[in-house]
């Protein structure tokens, strides 16, 4: 009995890893440049946005919640940040202060947006799906409105100054990768080795029990949304120097991608169990699929979505199948 449980666990651990390895092998076979430093760095750096957000999403989902608004929130925060920096530019001049101002804006806006979602969910007791569907619409509209239907662009000189935050790094490793790694490590530690992580799982598993054990259920839930908001802010700080602009097309469907990554990684959608490292694997699987499809052109680009969809399902089948077999 116990042996079975352990074996089962270890297969559900190996599952997503196997999926990832399969993708890596397929990629290398298709194109020798695939495992090249450039490509790997590109893929990791661009996974960072979704990745950072997905780490926060792992906590929200583990605690039995959901957040559909993250993509729009990212777009809105990016827009706000750009507006703020452009406005302050004449006064502050191109330099570190204005960039710091932008970063502070992103973090504060993220925190506020997360708290807002969280308060509506915990205080008014509305389904997270509805609250965040609503705020998704609201943020998406607001960014369109801020940009007057077009695109908000960061001042060009400022952009060149700020760009190293995406493209630069230390020892050849770019900042987004470093920040992503940091967020993952902190996330993993928090999930595993702090009371907060445990409380999230307990609440997702059975909030009544958690309440009876004097866990501050509302507070913990609120914190998961707030943390997610801040992480969306962090992701935006990396995103803005990359593209230097925000529009209504920014961050579209990021929420679905983040949730998918979380679930591919083995976190349970109904809550109660989550793992941050799994989410990382989920994120990598998703971005590698996109990358792989660009490596070759053996199918009509119209069918990319189909292949992507099939691989997502397969990655999870692999995981569950081996679980059932184990």
């Amino acid at each position: 009995m116990k042996a079975i449980a352990e074996r089962r666990l270890s297969m559900s651990v190996i599952g997503p890893v196997l999926g990832l390895i399969a993708l890596l092998v397929a990629g290398t076979l298709m194109n020798p440049n695939f495992l090249g430093w450039d490509n790997i760095t590109n893929v990791l750096a661009r996974s960072a946005f979704i990745g950072i957000i997905a780490v926060g999403m792992t906590f929200v989902i583990t605690a039995g919640g959901l957040d559909l608004s993250v993509g729009s929130m990212a777009a809105f925060i990016a827009g706000l940040m750009i507006l703020m920096m452009n406005t302050a530019l004449p006064a502050l001049g191109v330099g570190i202060p204005v960039v710091l101002l932008g970063m502070a804006t992103a973090l504060i806006a993220g925190l506020a947006a997360g708290l807002l979602n969280g308060l509506l969910i915990t205080r008014l007791g509305i389904e997270p799906f509805i609250v965040t569907l609503g705020s998704m619409g609201i943020y998406r509209s607001l960014v369109t409105w801020l940009a007057d239907g077009g695109t908000l662009s960061l001042d060009f000189t400022l952009r060149s100054f700020y760009q190293p935050v995406y493209y630069g790094g230390i020892m050849g490793i770019s900042w987004p990768i470093i920040v992503f790694a940091l967020v993952v490590v902190v996330g993993e530690v928090v999930m595993r080795s702090t009371a907060f992580g445990r409380h999230c799982a307990a609440i997702g598993s059975n909030d009544q029990v958690a309440r009876y054990s004097s866990v501050r259920v509302g507070h913990v839930r609120l914190m998961t949304y707030a943390a997610l908001g801040v992480l969306v802010g962090v992701a935006t700080i990396m995103y803005v120097p990359r593209l230097g602009s925000a529009s209504s097309a920014t961050g579209v469907l990021w929420e679905l991608e983040a949730i998918a990554a979380v679930i591919i990684g083995g976190t349970v959608l109904k809550g109660g169990f989550g793992r941050v490292w799994g989410t990382v694997i989920g994120v990598l699987i998703l971005s590698l699929i996109g990358n792989l499809l660009n490596l070759t052109d053996f199918v009509s680009p119209y069918l990319n979505g189909a292949i992507q969809g099939a691989i997502i399902v397969l990655a999870v089948v692999l995981q569950r199948e081996s679980k059932a077999a184990g």
Binding site: K2, T194, R198, A201, A202, S205, V209, S214, V268, G272
Partner: protein, 507 residues
């Protein structure tokens, strides 16, 4: 024990409690004193759990006072009650299923070193607590995989962790065997020595006699008797509780065996049981005994298609193959689960929906469910099984015993020709128990074939025509009615060679 008049640690005075317009507690008085075990007994739905919840701060009283050390206290939150050293073990499990044992025990009061959890210490502490309870589960085991008795031990460990002045235990022994009960009672004695005030409920009156110093008996939400436990014997308790004279608990084993109903050859339930062969005739009650974890539940779940199993099964002479539970039911065989809360009943639904869930097709007329028929079935179930509680209430608001009665009614509504009843009287009061035994015997007389799995040896012996004893997933032996004694069962259950003074016999 003489009457020690010490200051009550926790006390209810003239407490009433209503849910909506219905008052379920009327002017209850009860006082828990340090260093004494207070037993609270009463029929199902008498208000024991509600009283306990009020004492522990889970629910406020509608009127009346809660006194802490003689002072009126308003325990607004559980945390507040806890800070006064009051803790409670619930009748229903109160564990997060997806978390591990250690995570559950320390939930809400994790030990930290700096910002991080001190897992090593927590794990050791868990091991130590479980060790005190003779419970061998690993601190890292996930709770959803534990047996009921282990879950109960985890609950108890969770309560022991808190430094308690007042410990309130709502039917902690309902899912325990005698040996486990003995371990628990040992802990209770130790706490009593240390000056803890303890409130305890059980439907097993022998336990009450053994451990209680003070006794309160409730009926229909009122205290009907209160005093020193020594002033009351088992018979008196039963009579006062039920409000009528109690006769023999078990019905006479009359009845004739009919045709062969069920034959099992070499049933294997991978991981739990192997080489199970047995047969059962119509009109017969077969008892299955064994220690907890001996694989009785799994064997019969395997038989009924609830888990993967292989083997040769014949029902009324027909060779059958059962892969899904509904196939078993179609063949006239039903299994009544031991786990009413997670497998037996839909807690968020009402009595009617639960009662007819298993046999809905029968209530369908021209494609639609016939509501009147359902109501009639509910009327009958309420009458037959003496289910108390409001008709419209959700299952989760019924008292534990009444839930069990409804589960019983639900399964029997399917009118199975073969019925397997796992732990039939868990949490049922003694008066109703008698009724249920009578009922089971009547079913047998009417020609049904019945299997009773029970951890209460008295029950197996008193009820069954024949007893099979299991150990580690195998049948160890079969005892005919006259051979079936506690001693014989225990010998088989512990392994044939062992004629050691079994722990099961500690009482």
């Amino acid at each position: 024990m003489g009457v020690v008049v010490s200051q009550a640690a926790l006390e209810l005075r003239q407490v009433s409690r209503s849910f909506g317009p219905i008052e379920v507690l009327h002017d209850v008085d009860i006082a828990l004193r340090p260093g004494r075990v207070h037993a609270l007994i009463g029929e199902n739905g008498a208000g024991k759990s509600t009283t306990m919840k009020i004492l522990a701060g889970y629910q406020p009283p509608s009127s009346g006072d809660v006194l802490l050390d003689g002072q009126v206290a308003h325990l607004r939150t559980i945390a507040e009650a806890e800070s006064h050293g009051i803790s409670m073990i619930h009748q229903e499990f109160n564990l997060a299923e997806q978390l591990t044992v250690e995570q559950n025990i320390f939930l809400g009061r994790e030990l930290k070193r700096g910002m991080f959890l001190d897992k090593a210490t927590m794990r050791n502490k868990t091991r130590e607590l479980l060790g005190r309870l003779d419970c061998p589960v690993s601190p890292d085991a996930v709770v959803s995989g534990l047996s009921n008795s282990d879950k109960q031990m985890v609950e108890i460990a969770k309560a022991l962790l808190r430094d308690t002045r007042v410990l309130i235990m709502d039917e902690p022994t309902a899912v325990l065997t005698r040996s486990e009960t003995a371990v628990l009672l040992r802990q209770v004695r130790a706490l009593r020595e240390a000056g803890t005030a303890i409130l305890f409920t059980s439907h097993k009156l022998d336990e009450v006699c053994e451990i209680a110093d003070d006794l309160t008996i409730m009926r229909d939400g009122r205290v009907v008797w209160s005093g020193a436990a020594a002033d009351m014997d088992e018979h008196g308790m039963a009579t006062t509780m039920v409000g009528r004279e109690m006769s023999d608990l078990f019905p006479a084993k009359l009845g004739e065996k009919g045709d062969m109903a069920l034959e099992i050859r070499n049933l294997n339930v991978p991981g739990y049981a192997s080489d199970i062969s047995l047969s059962l005739r119509q009109g017969e009650i077969l008892g299955i005994a064994g220690l907890i974890g001996s694989g009785r539940t799994e064997t019969f779940e395997g038989l009924c298609g609830l888990r993967p199993a292989t083997g040769d099964i014949r029902i009324f002479g027909q060779k059958v193959r059962i892969d899904q539970p509904w196939q078993a039911q179609a063949l006239g065989m039903c299994y009544l689960t031991e786990d009413r809360k997670t497998r037996g009943l839909l807690l968020e639904k009402g009595m009617r929906e639960n009662l007819t869930l298993q046999t809905l097709e029968r209530f369908v007329e021209r494609g639609r469910i016939h509501r009147k028929g359902e109501e009639a079935a509910l009327d009958k179930a309420i009458a037959d099984f003496d289910i108390r509680g409001h008709r419209e209430s959700l299952i989760k608001n019924l008292s534990g015993g009444n839930q069990q009665k409804l589960l019983f009614a639900k399964t029997l509504l399917a009118e199975p020709r073969i019925v397997i009843i796992d732990e039939p009287t868990r949490g049922i009061d003694i008066g109703t128990k008698q009724q249920m035994y009578e009922f089971i015997r009547q079913l047998a007389r009417a020609g049904q074939a019945i299997v009773v799995i029970s951890s209460e040896m008295q029950e197996v012996i008193g009820l069954a025509d024949r007893v099979i004893v299991m150990r580690q997933g195998r049948i160890m032996g079969e005892l005919q009615d006259e051979e079936a004694s506690e001693d014989a069962i225990v010998r088989l259950a512990m392994g044939v060679g062992g004629n050691t003074p079994a722990r099961e016999m500690t009482q």
